[in-house]
Assembly symmetry: C2
Homo-oligomer: 312 residues x 2
């Protein structure tokens, strides 16, 4: 049994197709067929059920895949350990970002970062918080940017910044005459809300997605659809809350509809999160520095009331 064989198995399991898997592994298809057969012979079991189309894992096969993921991930970490020791900042780095952070933060730091650390090959994916947690734990992501705290004991958090929420209130709304708002002014029933489950803490007001669906909302918003959110709001479907950085992109006509909160303003905590095993810390540290430096110039520091993304 070799690590190579195991990674071939993983590739086939992921792609459900020997030919595609072979491409991903940069070898020919017979290589995969033969190596996987060899492994199956040695273990005297079938990992894949080739009678099904597309190919499926057998019962024992899926157990082996789980274990193989472990092994392959742990092997990859050896290079990380070496890099860390050397203080080398480079290699592939997979970063997840939640949709409501992606469009505002990414353009701000990406160029800066890639210039400063040209050897790091950043692979950025837009993912929901839930997906991010899964993928950090299974090793598919090296780190992510998400709203915190998550209270997940496998994951460490380093706060990047606190981002106040700003209310967007169309002209005909009952609150449109208030210059500044208080949290108490909000009414869950006339508000359009973001995906990604940002919940007010302490149960004062609960803005969770889950609670939304309970109180029969008529629609849900897809990822990165803050623009849509604004349009719907303008259509009279209610007010909404925008993370501060998004307000910078609001067009001039609508800017007058923005209403800040009186201190303490509700805010979300945005953090760089990563697995507690602490690998690739040099890159994580570099990212944190770069982002902190950039954001420091953009976010006006308010007296904020932090909002947790937790559902409970």
């Amino acid at each position: 049994m070799t690590i190579t064989q195991l990674s071939y198995v993983l590739a086939v399991a992921e792609n459900q197709n020997f030919t595609k898997a072979a491409e991903k592994c940069f070898v020919t298809q017979p290589t995969l067929s033969m190596q996987i057969q060899k492994l199956e012979d040695q273990l005297d079991i079938k990992i894949f059920d080739r009678s099904k189309k597309p190919i499926e894992l057998t019962e024992i096969g899926s157990k082996i895949v789980t274990q193989a993921k472990n092994i392959v991930n742990e092997s990859n970490r050896i290079q990380d350990i070496v890099d860390q020791q050397k203080g080398y900042i480079g290699g592939e780095f997979r970063l997840g970002i939640i949709p409501t952070v992606m469009p505002t933060l990414l353009p701000m730091f990406l160029k800066n970062f890639t210039n400063k650390y040209p050897k790091v090959k950043l692979k950025i994916e837009e993912l929901t918080t839930e997906e991010i947690i899964t993928r950090i734990n299974d090793g598919h992501l090296d780190a992510a940017i998400a709203a915190t705290p998550l209270e997940n004991e496998m994951i460490k958090e380093q706060v990047l910044y606190y981002e106040p929420f700003v209310a967007y209130i169309p002209k005909d709304h009952r609150l449109s005459k208030h210059e500044k708002l208080n949290i108490e002014d909000l009414d869950i029933d006339d508000m359009l809300l973001l995906e990604d489950g940002h919940c007010f803490r302490d149960g004062v007001i609960n803005l969770c997605k889950t609670l939304k669906s309970q109180s029969d909302e008529k629609f849900q918003l897809e990822s990165g659809s803050i623009e849509t959110l604004l349009k719907l709001s303008n259509e009279g479907l209610g007010m909404t809350l925008l993370p501060y950085l998004h307000t910078l992109d609001v067009n001039d006509n609508d800017k007058s509809n923005l209403h800040q909160f009186n201190d303490p303003s509700p805010a979300r905590e945005v953090s760089l999160i990563f697995h507690k095993s602490g690998l690739k810390m040099q890159i994580i540290e570099a990212l944190k520095q770069t982002i902190s430096d950039i954001v420091r110039g953009s976010i006006v520091f308010h007296n904020v009331e932090i909002i947790s993304p937790l559902s409970k």
Copy 2:
């Protein structure tokens, strides 16, 4: 990087010697030298400091060894997973046993077990509870027999039997005229105690090794030295407590010094323990059955008061 290379590294790290390590791996010494060099070249670091005699790990080397142990252990588990799926009962099985259980329990079940499951290669080691916990967690042991509960969340316990303690009281002792004892009769200061930290639960009386050393005892007993314990007791150094199975080996002269406890008798819980990951469960189950069957005939069931090995 291959699993083979990693296991070569582990062998050299353990033996601090290429030649011996090569023997353990069933290859020649140049094979190790070359494969390890190759790995070092690929990672562009030195794992071993060959200037030191015997050979030492470098700083980065020991990090790599830690990770390599992970990987090699996890790889070995693939065969275990397959065996489990097949219901195959065989292969190497490393069982740890604490000293005070070893001499009484092992002869009772060993022949029986090896007859019933000839394909299992049992490797039995006498170890302290502490060593057992370490080695179950790092994968050096597949299971162990120890006094429980351990309250270690990584380790599962399956109770094998409850073994009452029997007091051994030499003729000149203040308690020697009592036919049967109560726990309250015991006085920590005139008692000789076992290693392995068997503590009375609930803090009624605490017989822990740790507390012993605090209350300036004059000596400590080594593993498996129940015979010595008896001799010391006969020398007038105090009474002692024997696990029930040990009383079967007390010679006829001394048998009259044995005093049982009134119900509920203090007792220890002896369990088969293993890592929560639940590998080699077929063998563990087979062991449990065999031992339970044997012990059922030997231990008279009392109304017992369980004594925990925990220090707190």
